[in-house]
């Protein structure tokens, strides 16, 4: 395909001026750091959930106590400075840990059937996990996003990150403000002296918190085998967040809840979801669930 010459070089003077003004547009300092802290809050809660689960099973190699302490530290710092972010984080916890396994099974946030046995953490399962590449899931994940609806993931999709710095054209465009690709340590970013100054008490839009909380309630009910309550929570979710960013998750939870009641609508909805999101990681999950429930 031949692409046209770029307006920033070949457009009218006015067009070039307009486009060039976008260069170097950047947010206030600290935005990136704030995002890292908010992400850390989410992660820390995930780590806690996983560890809680792990105590029921056996030791998990990947988690050292030190790391966990650090995560908790991150969360504590965040509470002090940007409480709002942590509220989101803790709601995410509630979502993730909301399937309280009465039998002590590890918390799973993949909305799996709650009747799973406690996994033995032996080498064989290690191997099982290894064969299930998150990569395949994720390519699919990206493909289910709205703009992708015209097609499924292109084969070249995996190249998304290969952004060539080559060529003479790299100069005029808005770029170059990427930070070092050297990953800095999360803990370090939090102890950075000017972090507190740069962390206004603003939060992720409240909608996301609400979404997470509502879905958390549904998931908790489902974990407790209480499908009616789960469905009520999901109805509430649909009413409150018709355009919710977690609507896929809500749809999958609904199908699981219906399947739990042996409701024939589960199959209908599942089929519709899989047709609409053939490449979604949830599609695979739904196929498995429906196959299991037949």
């Amino acid at each position: 395909m031949t692409t046209p010459e770029r307006l920033i070089e070949h457009g009218t003077e006015f067009e070039r001026e307009l486009l060039a003004s976008a260069r170097l547009d950047a947010g206030k300092d600290g935005g990136r750091r704030r995002a890292v802290v908010a992400m850390a809050a989410v992660l820390s809660t995930t780590a806690t959930a996983a560890t809680t689960g792990a105590t029921a099973g056996a030791s998990v190699g990947g988690i050292s106590a030190g790391v966990l302490v650090k995560w908790v530290g991150v969360a504590v710092v965040t509470v002090g400075v940007a409480g709002a972010s942590v509220r989101v984080g803790s709601n995410l916890v509630s979502m993730r840990s909301a399937a309280p396994s009465t039998n002590g099974a590890p918390v799973r946030h993949g909305a799996g059937p709650s009747s799973l046995p406690v996994p033995n953490r032996d080498r064989e399962q290690e191997a099982t996990a290894a064969t299930m590449s998150p990569a395949s899931i994720a390519t699919a994940m990206a493909a289910e996003m709205p703009l992708a609806s015209t097609t499924t993931a292109t084969p070249s999709a995996a190249k998304a990150e290969t952004r060539p710095s080559s060529g003479p054209m790299s100069r005029p465009f808005a770029r170059g403000d990427q930070r070092s690709s050297e990953p800095s340590d999360l803990g370090a970013s939090v102890t950075d002296p000017d972090t507190s100054r740069n962390l206004p008490a603003r939060s992720v839009p409240p909608d996301l918190e609400g979404e997470v909380a509502t879905l958390g309630a549904a998931r908790a009910a489902l974990g407790g085998n209480d499908a009616p309550t789960a469905l009520r929570a999901l109805d509430a979710y649909d009413r409150a967040f018709p355009q919710g960013v977690l609507s896929d998750e809500a749809a999958v939870l609904r199908i699981e809840a219906l399947a739990k009641r042996s409701d024939p609508n589960a199959a209908v909805l599942s089929e519709r979801f899989v047709a609409g999101h053939p490449a979604s990681p949830y599609a695979e999950r739904l196929r498995a669930i429906m196959a299991h429930n037949r």
């Binding site: 046209p4 920033i8 992400m39 972010s85 799973r108 703009l147």
Partner: protein
């Protein structure tokens, strides 16, 4: 639902296996590697996502919150984002967030009918940025507002971020041909819009 690939008797505990495997992947990912990955994602892509949100029509201050929302969602879904697909995930999420924010804004704006929205001033003027540049940016955003979101995303990535069509296709998970057609239409709208805005400016200056 009928899935021809799985008969009722084949691997009845498939869901258990899948769930377990997913869980194991997740648990193994918790820890330093995971935190490093998240930090690296933010370091690499924050500025790009913030800029993208702005050019997709998210107003100045809201862009900070919107960017944070995008990255929090990335943390939530980290386990299903493949290595190398982070940027695509982030951009597509940013696109969704921008669209949802714009819907909200459009609804709110109806309450203010009659006010001249052209008089809208960035609530946080930046002392370090020349007034002239800010004015041009405002004009740029006004012209970009004339583009439907699908064309706008492609246009911004091509004309402002300087990506190649192939990269854009990968980022949006759409065919290159679709990129080309959206770009073509986007450019036409942009060029006619820029001409119109310029004419308005000249008329305004004469008055």
């Amino acid at each position: 639902m009928i899935d021809p690939r799985s008969s009722p008797n084949s691997r009845p505990i498939m869901s258990d296996v899948a769930a377990l495997a997913a869980e194991r992947v997740e648990e193994r990912a918790v820890g330093p590697a995971r935190s490093r990955r998240l930090t690296a994602i933010a370091n690499l892509h924050y500025a790009f996502i913030w800029r993208s949100l702005r050019r997709l029509g998210v107003a100045g201050q809201a862009a900070d919150d919107a960017a944070q929302q995008v990255f929090v969602l990335c943390a939530v879904k980290l386990d299903v984002i493949a290595e190398g697909r982070e940027r695509a995930f982030l951009f597509q999420t940013a696109l969704r967030v921008a669209m949802s924010l714009r819907r909200d804004f459009a609804q709110r704006r109806e309450a203010f009918l009659g006010e001249d929205i052209d008089q809208f001033v960035d609530p946080e003027p930046r002392p370090d940025v020349a007034v002239e540049v800010m004015q041009r940016r405002a004009l740029l955003d006004r012209v970009l507002d004339m583009l439907p979101m699908d064309q706008r995303a492609v246009f911004v990535l091509y004309e402002i971020e300087g990506l190649a069509a192939k990269e854009i296709a990968a980022l949006l998970s759409i065919p290159v041909g679709t990129v080309a057609s959206r770009l073509k239409r986007g450019r036409e709208t942009f060029q006619s819009g820029a001409a119109r805005v310029r004419l308005q400016m000249e008329r305004g200056a004469k008055r």
